[in-house]
Symmetry: C2
Subunit: 424 residues, 2 copies
């Protein structure tokens, strides 16, 4: 059996996970896939990461150009993360005719349209199952299952950090700050958690998922994005009382000729399959015009789940011909596709008011004048002669709700608009 030599660029958590699988399951892969895969070189700043993991330092490579020039190496795994130098390094590998397997969602979301033509021109492949939702084979599914269907919608819990924080807030009724601290202690959140909690990470992944699902480039910059930092313990409590869980959802929807692409917190009904996806687990719930509803669930991150997706791509890359994106991908939204900003949703609104006769009526009038119909409203007395009013609306247009909130905020009896969260 021929030995396929491959290399790893960046021996961090995920690169290390892929190395573990390739070495520990090498015989299993030989016997079940008919492929003998050997890691020949590992590129990193120095050989410390190899030493730390007990990997022979003879595998260490200190130069990307040496790696690119190594004729033995057929394929390279990129697990460095970030745009540069990953982009330059990947470009060198593709140009040298080596297929690349990457876990880099930021790079993919930003530069897929630049990298894929290079891969194509050199007859090699660019594989990225590991870039979205860890070990969950959602990229494979979008490309190679239900291909006869027109995907109508995707709802994803695709960021483990925020799902951990929201699950913690839900199960322990703690504040956002407390849950974030716990997530940081356990290594689920970075010291600077911005990319996760503000929804950038989810937007990168949504850009990739939507582009594949809707067969058109959905640039990450076009995605409406709102994070979880403003979600309060009261919001969680109100959600529970009303029969919901709060989740950060990445949503892609086809509406006529238009598309919606947005990341924001959502009230998810407790009996919806996504409501019970908790902790660091992820899931993608999608609907096709014939297949109906499908859900793919699993670990959204971590060395071994993400490493498993990488190894799956390595095996795929070594087993057949590369496939390329079938739509024109220039990194921009196709002119014929309308991106819908004024989408339709239900809304949860929480307002603190003076506890006086007529306030609720004035708020209701504003909502009504903007065409926003109220499904449920409850008023709870608060401190200082104030009261908290919680509204759930029927389906309404985003702009109408925003206009209403602006007008409601100007009412003399309204002390603060505390929360607005969309409802599934």
């Amino acid at each position: 059996m021929k030995t396929h030599h491959i290399a790893i660029m960046g021996l961090g958590t995920v690169g290390g996970g892929a190395y573990d699988i390739l070495t520990q399951n090498r015989e299993h892969i030989k016997s079940t896939q008919g492929l003998d895969i050997s890691v020949k070189l590992i590129l990193d700043r120095n050989d410390e990461p190899l030493k730390k993991r007990g990997i022979p330092t003879k595998l260490f490579c200190d130069s990307v150009d040496k790696l690119a020039a190594d004729k033995d190496v057929e394929l390279v795994i990129e697990t460095m993360g970030g745009v540069e130098p990953a982009k330059t390094f990947i470009t060198k590998m593709l140009t040298a005719g080596k297929s690349v397997v990457t876990a880099n969602k930021e790079l993919l979301a930003k530069c897929w349209h630049e990298l894929e033509p290079i891969a194509k021109a050199h007859g090699c492949g660019l594989f990225f199952e590991a870039s979205c939702v860890g070990g969950v084979p959602i990229i494979r599914a979008l490309g190679e299952s239900f291909q006869g269907d027109r995907v109508k919608s995707i709802y994803g819990i695709i960021n483990g950090t925020t799902n951990y924080i929201l699950s913690k807030m839900s199960s322990e009724n703690c504040s956002y700050a407390e849950a974030l601290k716990k997530a940081q202690e356990l290594g689920y959140a970075e010291f600077d958690p911005t990319s996760d909690v503000d929804g950038y990470d989810a937007a990168y992944k949504l850009s990739i998922l939507c582009s594949l699902a809707f067969h058109t480039c959905v640039p990450y910059g076009s995605i409406f994005r709102d994070g979880i930092t403003k979600v309060t313990a009261s919001d969680i409590k109100n959600a529970h009382d009303l029969g919901y869980e709060i989740k950060l959802l990445a949503i892609g929807k086809r509406e006529g000729d238009g598309l919606e692409a947005r990341v924001h917190p959502v009230f998810v009904p407790k009996d919806h399959p996504l409501a019970s996806v908790s902790g660091a687990y992820n899931a993608v719930y999608l609907n096709g015009d014939f297949v109906g509803d499908l859900m793919f669930y699993g670990a959204g991150a971590g060395a071994h789940p993400t490493g498993s997706a990488i190894v799956s791509d390595v095996i795929k890359a070594l087993s057949g011909k590369p496939k390329y994106c079938e739509f024109e991908n220039n990194g921009k939204l196709d002119g014929s596709v309308k991106l819908i900003g004024d989408f339709v949703s239900g809304y949860y609104i929480c307002v603190t008011v003076d506890d006086k006769v007529g306030v609720l009526s004035r708020i209701s009038t504003i909502l009504g004048n903007n065409g926003v119909s109220i499904k449920a409203a409850t008023q709870v007395p608060g401190s200082d002669d104030g009261a908290t009013v919680v509204f759930l609306t029927h389906l309404a247009r985003e702009h109408a709700v925003m206009q209403s909130l602006e007008a409601i905020g100007k009412l003399a009896a309204v002390r603060s608009i505390d929360s607005m969260i969309r409802v599934l």
Copy 2:
């Protein structure tokens, strides 16, 4: 763009579903997959099914030999069901060099090892995504995702009829007979429901799933099988009181060098993702040594979900080279694989006894003597000086529990052993 001509054998529910998708989404498939697929011929007993669906009768074909001889037809969809004449017809198509896409789980489970060599010898493919779990792409996932992993276990809700019945019993606290009647009225259950309620259908699918997951033939005849006909409304109530739902699970597990393969009702903890898979939905929950837990969820049956899986296979078959089973598949269990009959599980046991001092103690002694340790026991007074005793055991060996039940049944104070259901 070249037109690919295909044919359908058997225009029932699923065949009709596939036809709908191929015609209604023909342009979509052309633009996204680069394939123009046209249904040229439909084989059936007569042209009534075509007329009923408004399909032009010029597509009708009355002879399998004419179909096999048609040089235009590249690929044939088989949606007849059952072993014969499907097996003979498929053999004719493969021998004529036409790839076959089938939804026929019974035929696959029984004759895969005979059909695949014929496909291989004639350079064509045998595709069967639609044979298991409707629109859920579990066959694809087992073959082309997490290939670097060693699958440790599969737990599947893979029969929609029984899941509908058990969900109905759970939500409405009705009897098995009432729920079955409702399922029959809605078309979820056949007039003769044996294949579903006795677990044959699930065993066919489990045979296919286990063979793919464990890379060895797991014949359907080797699968331990127990149906849902003995599950009572009391069992469901007891399950709820103890924090469980009852589901018919298809279980495949690797234990050392051995395998477990079994279909039977199971107490599933309410917080397990499988517990909330209800109605006609299906799900497969699996664990790989590196990817961890994954779940695939969706409609397990129906014209369009299953049709979607068929169309996915048609596209796959027309897009590339066929892949064959990598393990030796002779329809028998590999001599080196030990099938574990004496598996380990938790158990729920329900017994009616005389309400006398010492009965519980005698039962406990028998369980203890057989090495079966009790986790929880409750006794509820019943009629005629009787009482119902419900036990939950810790993990125990199947044979030990069976021996215990035999001895318990012989106790003078024991009126009946009402139920024994395994616990996840």
